[in-house]
């Protein structure tokens, strides 16, 4: 099940406080500003800085 759209609409990057967008496979949320990639585990978004990875290139 994907992340609830109502929740997604509210979530922001814990560092930049700007919008996060789901990846096409729904496995992560990516910050539009700093490109940090936050994993989604069991449909629960993990918006912890230490769990994030930095995206090095644009994904389609």
């Amino acid at each position: 099940m994907p992340i609830d759209p109502e929740l997604l609409e509210m979530l922001a990057c814990p560092i930049c406080k700007t919008e996060v967008r789901p990846t096409t496979d729904g496995a992560a949320l990516v910050c539009r500003s700093c490109r940090r990639r936050y994993p989604v585990v069991d449909d629960i978004p993990i918006l912890l800085v230490e769990e994030a990875t930095l995206e090095t290139e644009e994904r389609p």
Binding site: L11, A12, P14, K17, V20, I44, P45, L47
Partner: protein, 251 residues
């Protein structure tokens, strides 16, 4: 060191989640009602619960028609919250809330402050994610004002629960909200009875630390060393937990 304490809290809560979710202390309907009466959740309001645990408060907020969002550091707690019907759950940190400014009408935080390494930073974040005029409602155990009693009390809490960081006094709790810029601050004491065995079992202290807690509380039967009223009732030791409920508004 901070990271160590964070992972300690997480490990402790992963283990404690189930017992915590069923603890009479957390589920007590009268206590939950008292908190909800202060929150006054409105239908459709966005309300954030910081340190939502297994989602007991979230359930009460949702029943009132609010759009309740739960945030916790511990995934086991969030799974329990979701299994209990909470739809909007996110794993995150109180000091770095993953929401934009002014996102919520109210923020609730129950029984979590004593686990925070930096409660002042959490207070500032709670203010940031509230819209103007939004309200914050905090409930947590309060430390005795007397320094000797406070130190004694704190030793017991730490022996019992490795995830315990610091119990704040009434003034300490008020200062956090005041420093975060909240106004119209009010507070009310909330006291309830704790069954010592259930309370200890739920936190999984080592047998040695458990015994030390029992010994320290037993010493309070004759003399009030920790500011809690400790007594025996049909062989069972109990004490009166002293908590505080606070409410304030973001200007």
């Amino acid at each position: 060191m901070d990271d160590d304490q964070l992972s300690t809290t997480e490990r402790a809560f992963a283990r404690q989640a189930r017992a915590f979710a069923h603890s009479p202390l957390q589920t007590d309907p009268a206590r939950l009602r008292r908190l909800l009466d202060w929150v006054e959740p409105g239908a459709g309001e966005r309300i954030l619960d910081v340190g939502c645990g297994p989602g007991i408060v979230l359930g009460g907020l949702a029943a009132a028609g609010a759009r309740a969002v739960g945030l916790d550091r511990t995934i086991e707690m969030l799974r329990l919250a979701r299994d209990g019907g909470a739809r909007l759950c996110v794993r995150g940190e109180g000091t770095r809330l993953p929401f934009p400014d002014g996102c919520f009408e109210a923020v609730v935080c129950r029984n979590a402050c004593h686990h925070f390494l930096d409660p002042e930073a959490v207070g500032r974040e709670m203010a940031r994610v509230l819209r103007r005029g939004g309200r914050v409602i905090v409930e947590d155990m309060r430390a005795p004002d007397d320094p000797a009693q406070r130190a004694y009390h704190e030793s017991i809490e730490k022996l019992r629960d490795i995830s315990h960081v610091r119990t704040l006094t009434r003034l300490g709790l008020r200062d956090i909200l005041a420093a975060a810029g909240f106004e119209a601050l009010e507070d009310v004491p909330v006291d309830f009875v704790i069954d010592v065995d259930e309370w200890l079992d739920r936190a999984y202290p080592t047998p040695d630390n458990r015994q030390r807690c029992v010994d320290m509380l037993t010493a309070c039967l004759d003399r009030d060393l920790c500011g809690l009223r400790v007594w025996r009732d049909a062989g069972q030791m109990r004490f009166e937990r002293q908590s505080l409920m606070l409410r304030a508004r973001r200007p």
